[in-house]
Subunit: 266 residues, 2 copies
Amino acid sequence: MNRTELVKEIFSKKSFLSVGLDTDINKIPKFLLDFEDPIFEFNKRIIDATHDLCVAYKINIAFYECLGSKGWESLQKTLNYIPDNLFTIADAKRGDIGNTSAMYAQTFFQTYSFDSITINPYMGVDSVMPFLEFPGKWAILLALTSNKGSRDFQHIQENNEKLYELVVRKSFDWGNEDNIMFVTGATQPQELGGIRKLAPRSFFLVPGVGAQGGDLDAVVKAGRNEEVGLLVNSSRGIIYASADESFDKAARKEAQKLTDQMGEYF
Amino acid sequence: MNRTELVKEIFSKKSFLSVGLDTDINKIPKFLLDFEDPIFEFNKRIIDATHDLCVAYKINIAFYECLGSKGWESLQKTLNYIPDNLFTIADAKRGDIGNTSAMYAQTFFQTYSFDSITINPYMGVDSVMPFLEFPGKWAILLALTSNKGSRDFQHIQENNEKLYELVVRKSFDWGNEDNIMFVTGATQPQELGGIRKLAPRSFFLVPGVGAQGGDLDAVVKAGRNEEVGLLVNSSRGIIYASADESFDKAARKEAQKLTDQMGEYF
């Protein structure tokens, strides 16, 4: 999915919500365990309940990988089930030397046909380039993450430029706003505004609203551009809103709360 | 496998060789494609041919993941086939917010029972800690990698301390030489000596000898400690030494060349 298509979807739905499918076999409603593929069954109902509200699904690969080959089958079925007009994100945080990154790109863009994948930039240029060679696909680089540990390394600075700012600046030597997005945590809205100045036309994937405590209004004020330029993700706050049989209705309600708020910005 | 056991294996074999199983379906000898599981068949023969020479196998997860659920089955069979006295490394370069890193740790230490996993430290403390909670298991943190892109971010410095040095220093707040190792590329032996000063008792996983051009002698001179403290990995230089039916013999010959050289340091 290219940028024009994504922006069109956002304006059509008046939503820039990404729903995170961090589907944990230990957290889903117990009645689903009687199904042949409980993970897919859960995702299917969440997708049915939310696909008209959100513009993207972020699939947290860790939660599928931990189930072995069966988890990858659930992942494939989930991906097949997501309607074509929704943007898909493999939240995989990959990155390795060139020949290995090329294998990861092949995995997530071809074996599985995600629109995008999150990339850890620590290993630099050759760890990122292989992901930029697929037209219409996206590398979403970690810039400033939403977690406590983001303070450990991402803020170190040389010549008044912090590591996360250097990541953003340098990435424009490798790609552009049509194939690179940035992860910018909702928990640090001030810094998010600074990143917007460095990357005025880029999309940001913003995790951390909901369970991690980020504030939607602060994020929008600091990070919005003319095309919105934000994909705000909520995972646990939506998909685990309830643990009973009507979990999908509860999930829709939580998604709706966010999209109602998002609608005010259009 | 704990450090005492690893050191014992190294001194017993007079080897600190890790063989990298970057097994690529497009590069293995064609006759193997007639087998039900060509990837496992290739690995089995490489392991048979090299397990008395090396002390570790590093499995590059990208090459299995790209085959979907079938690849994970080949991975499991390979791991089961590696003798217990060899150290196993999941070269996965994972790292995410705490609850997700916990899933990755579960995957690689429990679903698959690797001794260790490579970790990308960009996201800081909570991305690393979940891997340190498994007795006898190891987190191998990327410090200074062997690739061209390592120059992009790993060398930026604040207060005369480079990012990769900060990673090493800070990691001692989180763990110690019994549960953390560092990736230090063979292509940068001078810096490797500097990292040794920061982490005198730690093990280093050193990729980049062979196909990437690193020099074994320079690595040993810069990085060895009393317990050797090095796992020097070669992947393509060994496993793709030949593409014909006797590829396993050719792989053994290449491994032997390295271990002959390693033997001189004992």
